[in-house]
Assembly symmetry: D2
Amino acid sequence: MEGFEKEESTVLAKPLTKECPVRLGGDEEIIESVVTGMIPSDMLELKLGDCNRAAKIRREALQRMTGRPLVGLPFGGFDYESLLGRCCEMPVGYVQIPVGIAGPLLLDGMEYFVPMATTEACLVESTNRGFKAIFASGGATSMLLTDGMTTTMSLRFGSAERASELQLFLEDPINFQTLALLFNSSSRFAMLQSIRCAIFGKPGMNLYVRFTCSTGDAVGMNMVVSKCVQRVLDTLKNDFPDMDVVGIPGNFCSDMKPAAVNLIEGCGKSVLCQAIIKEEVVTKVLKTNVAALVELNVLKNLNGSTVAGTLGGFIAHTSNIVSAVFLATGQDPAQILESSRWITTMEVDINGKDLHISVNMPSIEVGTIGGGTQLASQSACLNLLGVKGGNKELPGSNSRLLATIIAGSVLAGELSLMSAITAGQLFNKDVSETAS
Amino acid sequence: MEGFEKEESTVLAKPLTKECPVRLGGDEEIIESVVTGMIPSDMLELKLGDCNRAAKIRREALQRMTGRPLVGLPFGGFDYESLLGRCCEMPVGYVQIPVGIAGPLLLDGMEYFVPMATTEACLVESTNRGFKAIFASGGATSMLLTDGMTTTMSLRFGSAERASELQLFLEDPINFQTLALLFNSSSRFAMLQSIRCAIFGKPGMNLYVRFTCSTGDAVGMNMVVSKCVQRVLDTLKNDFPDMDVVGIPGNFCSDMKPAAVNLIEGCGKSVLCQAIIKEEVVTKVLKTNVAALVELNVLKNLNGSTVAGTLGGFIAHTSNIVSAVFLATGQDPAQILESSRWITTMEVDINGKDLHISVNMPSIEVGTIGGGTQLASQSACLNLLGVKGGNKELPGSNSRLLATIIAGSVLAGELSLMSAITAGQLFNKDVSETAS
Amino acid sequence: MEGFEKEESTVLAKPLTKECPVRLGGDEEIIESVVTGMIPSDMLELKLGDCNRAAKIRREALQRMTGRPLVGLPFGGFDYESLLGRCCEMPVGYVQIPVGIAGPLLLDGMEYFVPMATTEACLVESTNRGFKAIFASGGATSMLLTDGMTTTMSLRFGSAERASELQLFLEDPINFQTLALLFNSSSRFAMLQSIRCAIFGKPGMNLYVRFTCSTGDAVGMNMVVSKCVQRVLDTLKNDFPDMDVVGIPGNFCSDMKPAAVNLIEGCGKSVLCQAIIKEEVVTKVLKTNVAALVELNVLKNLNGSTVAGTLGGFIAHTSNIVSAVFLATGQDPAQILESSRWITTMEVDINGKDLHISVNMPSIEVGTIGGGTQLASQSACLNLLGVKGGNKELPGSNSRLLATIIAGSVLAGELSLMSAITAGQLFNKDVSETAS
Amino acid sequence: MEGFEKEESTVLAKPLTKECPVRLGGDEEIIESVVTGMIPSDMLELKLGDCNRAAKIRREALQRMTGRPLVGLPFGGFDYESLLGRCCEMPVGYVQIPVGIAGPLLLDGMEYFVPMATTEACLVESTNRGFKAIFASGGATSMLLTDGMTTTMSLRFGSAERASELQLFLEDPINFQTLALLFNSSSRFAMLQSIRCAIFGKPGMNLYVRFTCSTGDAVGMNMVVSKCVQRVLDTLKNDFPDMDVVGIPGNFCSDMKPAAVNLIEGCGKSVLCQAIIKEEVVTKVLKTNVAALVELNVLKNLNGSTVAGTLGGFIAHTSNIVSAVFLATGQDPAQILESSRWITTMEVDINGKDLHISVNMPSIEVGTIGGGTQLASQSACLNLLGVKGGNKELPGSNSRLLATIIAGSVLAGELSLMSAITAGQLFNKDVSETAS
C-alpha cells in the first residue's frame, strides 16, 4: 500500500496508558458520549486502553447513530488488540470470507493444498479441476525471474544543472556501493538492486528516482522501502540541500496502477509457470481438446483482448484466482490490480499432441510477514502452505514460494475456465449439427 | 466473474438427498476415507447431505493429510449451508477481515458511515480524515453517468459474407427491438442498451459481439448476462445455423482486464464525484495547502503515471479504498482491477483559493444481490449503508447508490493521502531551511 | 492536421496586390533587405505578389545569412504559386522523394500499380514480392467497415448543471436531426454520424464533445470539420451563452496521437483486408512455409509486441508501407501515426494447408482532395490509382478506395517481411545442422 | 526500418555489367517487352546497366499498361543511379515536397534555420511564430538523455534449462566485455550499451534478447545493428548449437510500433527541451496569456488525451513538426510513429508570471548518414543545419544535434498551436460577452 505518513500511525501505535479509563464512566455513558460526538470514535482505543471494549462501544454507538442493527456482522472470536497500529482502525466487527481448499497442486515436485477465500461460485471447484489436470500430467514447473520491490521519490530543484548533478551521482556505479550500504542499513532485509532516474516536467528540475530492492519476506512497500529511501534522502540532503522532496511515492513505481513499467521491468515477484497437459487429460478431465484450446487462446486472450485495447490483460480470469489466494493469505487486495496481469499462452507441445500452457506474471506483490499476514486466520492459511512468517535460513524464500504457488494456481484456473468455454462451444456445435 | 459453465454449478446446486448419509458411517471413518482418497473431498456435501458436517470432516482430513494444524482459522459461527452452489466450494473455515468504520461521508446531502474491510494500517483512519475534510466543506456531490454491464460473445463463420450478414442484422436499428425483447425476456432485470460488433482475425469470419445492458441491482455478469445472451444466440441459430460460438465471454467486454474499452465506453457504473474543499479545511484538517496539492497532483498523478506508462492509472491509491469497501460489502475482489481506475483531478477552485477535487471512475462493477452479498456479515454492511438487497421500487438504485458511495470514499482517500504526502514535503522543507 | 486558426491562413490567402512590388527595387536589393531583417522573410509573397520570385529571393537570402549553399536542393520545375495559402509557407525549394512502382496488386478483382515514395532500400521490392504472392493466389479482398472522421471540442461551464443540460441536449436523439442539419449545412460533403460526450476534470464543468462525420473525399480535419463544428457551436451559444470553448480539437478525437479510442471506435477509414495465400506460393514465391509464418506471427507480432507493452502495434512494419503510399499520394505524414496500426493475423486456412492472412486497420486517415493531393506530382500518383480528386457520382468513394489499396499494400508488405524473416531462420537452421 | 534480408538487397547492389544491354534492342522494343511481361519490370536496371534509362522505360511501360499518363510526376533532374541498392526500387519519377524555412531557432545558444518539407497549410508559419517567441525570450535549451538504438532477436530452445543458461550467460557482467567486443567489431560505429532478456511463451523456451547500442550518426537499424547482432549470434551458436533463431527483429525493440518500452527505456535519441517564454512575449507574439496556456495544457494534452486512452500521446501535434523535418532531412517516415511521442508540459515559471514549457521525447530515431540522407535534396537540408554526413571528430554528434533541433522545433510547434487555440477561445469569449 502506498506510504501513509509515519506520524499518523504513530498516534495509534503509542502504548495505551491505563490511567485514562477510570474517569470515563460505564459503557453506557461512553456510548452516549460517542453518539453525541463528545468523544470522537477514533479516540476510543486511546482513551479506554482496551481495544475489545473500544470496538464494542463503537459498534453500539454506530447502531444507535444510524438506527441500523449490525446483526449478522460477527464481533466475538476476534482479537481486536491485534489490529492496533498494524491493520485496521475503528473496527466494529469483521466480515467472514469462506476458505475453500483446492488441490493438491503439484508444482516443482511438491504438493500444495491451496486455500482460496472467495464468495464466488465455482471458482474453487474450477481451479481444483485444473489442479487435477496438472497432477495427472505430471505437474507444473515454475521459474522466479526477478524479485524486487520498487518505490519512487519525486524531487524538484531550482535549476536543471543541480538536478542533473544528482542524477549523475545516483547513476554512477562508483556511488552505488555507498548508496546501497546506506539503503540496506535501515532494514535487515532490504537489499538495493538498482536506481533509475527519469527527468520530467520542467526538464532537469523534476527528477523521478525509482529504487528497486529485495525485501525479504515482506512486501516491503511501507516499512522497509520508506525507511530506506528516507535514509538515502537524509544523506543526499547534505550534498543537495536545495533538493525539494515533492512526493514519495511518485507513481513511477508503479504501485496499484495498471502501468507498463511493471510489466516491462517487473515489480515484486516476476514468475513464469508452465505445464504440459497430456492429450488424454485434456479429453477426460477437461472435456475438451487441445486444438480447441489453442484456437480459443488466440481468439479470446490475444485477439479479443487486443480489440478491447488492453495493456497487459492477455488472460482469461487471472484476478479471480489471485484475489482468492490473496485474501486467504492476508495479502493487500489493493495489489490484486498489478499482480493479476500479463499473458496466458497455449500451444501444441513439441510432440504434436499434448498442450503446452504457460502463464507469465511479472509483478506478483506478496509477502509472508506484515500487514494482514499477522492475523490468526490468514496466518493459518500461510501455515497450510508452509510459508508462514519470515524464512530464517533464507529470507525471502517464503514469499517467493508463495508467488510461485499463486502462479501455479492461476495456471490451473486459466486452464479450467478456457476448457469450460471450449466445452460449451463443442456442446453447441453438436446441437446445431443435430438441429440441421 | 467470468462465466463458468452452468453444468458445473448445477452439480452442486441440486438438492441434497437425505438418504445417502446413513451408509457412510461415523465422522472418523469418513475422514479416513477422504485421507485415503476413497471419498473425493469435493463429494462430501453431496454424500453427507450436511454442509456443516462436510466442512468439518474436510478440515480434519486436510490437517491429517498435510500434518499442518488449522488452529487460528475459525470454523464455527458460520453457516456453511449458505455457500452451497452460490459462493465457495470445499470450505474448511473462513478468514476474518476486520471492518473499520469511517464517516460520516456527506454525499449528495446524505450521511453514510462507510464500512471498510481491510488489514492495512492507516487506511480507515486516513479515509476518515478525508471524510472530515469533505464534511467540513459542505459535502461532495456525485453524478452517475452510465449504468450498463457488458459481455461479449465471439462467433466464427465459414465465410466473410455470412459474418457480415449477421453484423448487419445485429446492428440494424429495426432489429434492435426484437433482439432487446428476446434479451430482456430471460431476466426480470436485464435491459439491453446496445449491441456492438467487431470483425477480426480471419476478417469477416470472427465476429466479436459486445452487449451492454442494465442489470438491476446485480453485477449481472453470470446469471443475467449469460442467460440473456444465450437466449439471443439460440434464436440467431435459426437464421444462422452455420454460426460457431467460439467463446463467451470473448474478452472484448472486458471483465477483469485492464482494457481501454472500459475506460472509454464505461462498464458497470460510471461515476463522477467532486467536492470543493475549503482553504481553511485544507490547512486545519489536512495540514497542507491548496497550491501544494494542485502541484503534487500534476507531478504524481499525471506526470508520474505517464512516466510509468499507465493506461488509466492517473490516481494515487484508488484501489485501496475500492478493495476495502468491496470486501466489506461482498463484491467480487477480482473486479477491483477495472473498478479502481482513471483519474483524480485537483484544481484551484473558481474563487481562487479553495480546492476543487474530482474522481472519475468509469467502470465500478458492483451489485447488492448475488455472490458474496448474500452472506450474513457482508449483508450487514450493505444494510449499514441502506443498500441491502434489490431495491423493489427502483431496481438498480441500490447498486447505483453503492457505486456513488464508493466514489465518494475514493475521493476522500485520494484527498487524504495526497495531503499526507505534501505535508511530509512541507515538513522536510522546514527541516532543510532550519538546517541551512 | 490539427486545426490551425483561420486568421493565420487568411493572411496568406488574401489576393496579392500587384501594386506593391514596384517600390521594392531589384532582387539584389530585396535580398539584402531580407538579410538585414528589414523585410521579414514571411512577408515576401505578400509584398512581391509573385510567389516564384519570393521563393527565389528567400532562398538566396537564406544562403547568405547562413553561409551554407543550397546546391542540391532543387528549385525549378515547381509551381510555387500552387502552395499559397494551401500547402507550405516560406518555401525555398523542394525535396525529391523517388517513387517506385509495385504491382499489380490484385484486390477485390481489380489490378492496381501502387506508387510508393520512399528512400528506404528493399521496401518497394519487398512489397512487390508480396503482390506477386497475392496475385498468384487469386487476389486479396477488402471490407470497409466504417468511414467517419472525428473531432472534439472541449467546453467549460460555470456549473455542473449547465454542462449536464448540454450533454443531455446533444445526446438526445430528438435533437440529432437538427444538429445534423446544422452541421451538414456548412459543407457539401460533411454528414454527421454521431455525437458523443465525456464529462471530465471538474465534473460537469468540462465537457468533451466528440463529433464523427463522413467527409466525402477529403480527410476533412481542417476545412470541413472545423467549419461544421463552429456552426454547431455558434447555434448552441444561443441557448448556452455561458459556454466557454476551451479548445478545438480537445484531444479526444484523437488526431496524431497513439490513442485507444481510434482503435476501438475507428477514425477515418476502418478497413479489413484478407487473402488466402496458396501453400505452393508460400514455398515458391516467398521461400518459406505456412507453419513457420503462423508461428512467427504469434511469437513476433502478438507475444513480442506484448513484451514491448504496445497499444495497437501487433504488426511487423505497417508504417513502412503506409508512409510510402501516403507520401506518393499527398497524404499528411503526421497521420501515419494513427493510420499504421493494429494487428496482422496469420492462420492455417480451413483447408489445412494454405495461409490465411489478414490486416485490420481501424483508422486510415486519407483523402483525395485538399492538402498535398493538389500538387502536380502527388496528383499524378492519385491518377495512376484512379482516385484523383473528388468522386462526383459517389462522394467519398475515391478516398475509400485509396484506403483499401493501402490496406492491400500493407497486407503484401507484412506477408513479404515475415517471409523474409522466417526464410532467414530456415537458412540458419540449415547452416547449424550442416555445422553440427 | 525493420531488417530486410541482406540477400534481397544484394541482388540489386551487385555491379551492373555493361555487356547485357546490347542484345535488348531499342527503347521501344524493351518497353513492349515489359508491357507484355517478357521482361520483368524489376529486372530493368540489371539488364540495361543504366538506371536512368531503366526508369524511363519502366515509366513509359507503366503508362501504356494502365492507360494513365504520368504527366505531372517529374522525371528529370534526378540521379536514378543514386537509388540503386540503397533507396527505392523500380523508380518511375519522384514526388516534390516543398521545403519551407522556419527560423531562426535559438537553441543552446546557436541559431538554426529549420527546413520543413510539408504540404500542410500553416505548419511552417505556425512553427515560425513559435521560433519567434522562443527567440524573443532568450532561446530554448535541450538535454540529450540517452542515445542508443535497439533491436531484438527472438530465440527458441528445446528446453527451459538451455534457454535459462543463455539468459544467464548474456546477462552476466563478466561476459559483457566479450560480447561487446564481438558486437562492436562488426561496425566502426556500433558500441553495445546493454543486453536485456525476456523469457516468454513456452517459458524458458522463447527468449527475447534486446540489444541497445550507440550507432554513430546512422539510425543504424539495418546495417549496423543487424550485422552486429548476427556476429554475436554466430558466436553464440558455438556454445548453443541447439538455439533456433525465430526472428530478428522480434518486436521487443520496438521499431515502428506504439510501444511502452520505447517510452520507458528510450530508443534512438531521448531528448528533453525546455524554454521559459516571457509573459510579454506570450501576449504580443502569441496573442494569448500564460494562465490560458497552462489551463489548456491540462485540459487538452493531459485530460483530453487520457479520455482518449492514449499511451504516450500527451501532446498537441508533435508528429506534424517531426514529419516535416524528417522528410526534409531524409529520415525514415515510418519512424515518425515512435519519434512523435510523449508529453508537453506547461507551467507558470518560478517567477510567477512567465511560461515554462517543455517537451519530453524519449525515442527520436534519426541519422545523418544512410537511407534518404544520401539523396541530393535531403543532403542539402542536412547541410543547412550543419549536420550533413557523419561527424568525423565525434561520431554520433551530428545525429544527436539533429535530434535536439527536432525537439526544439516541436517545442515551438506545440507552443504556437496551443496559443492559437487559446486565442480562439478568448476571441469567442469576447464575442459572447459582447453578445450578452
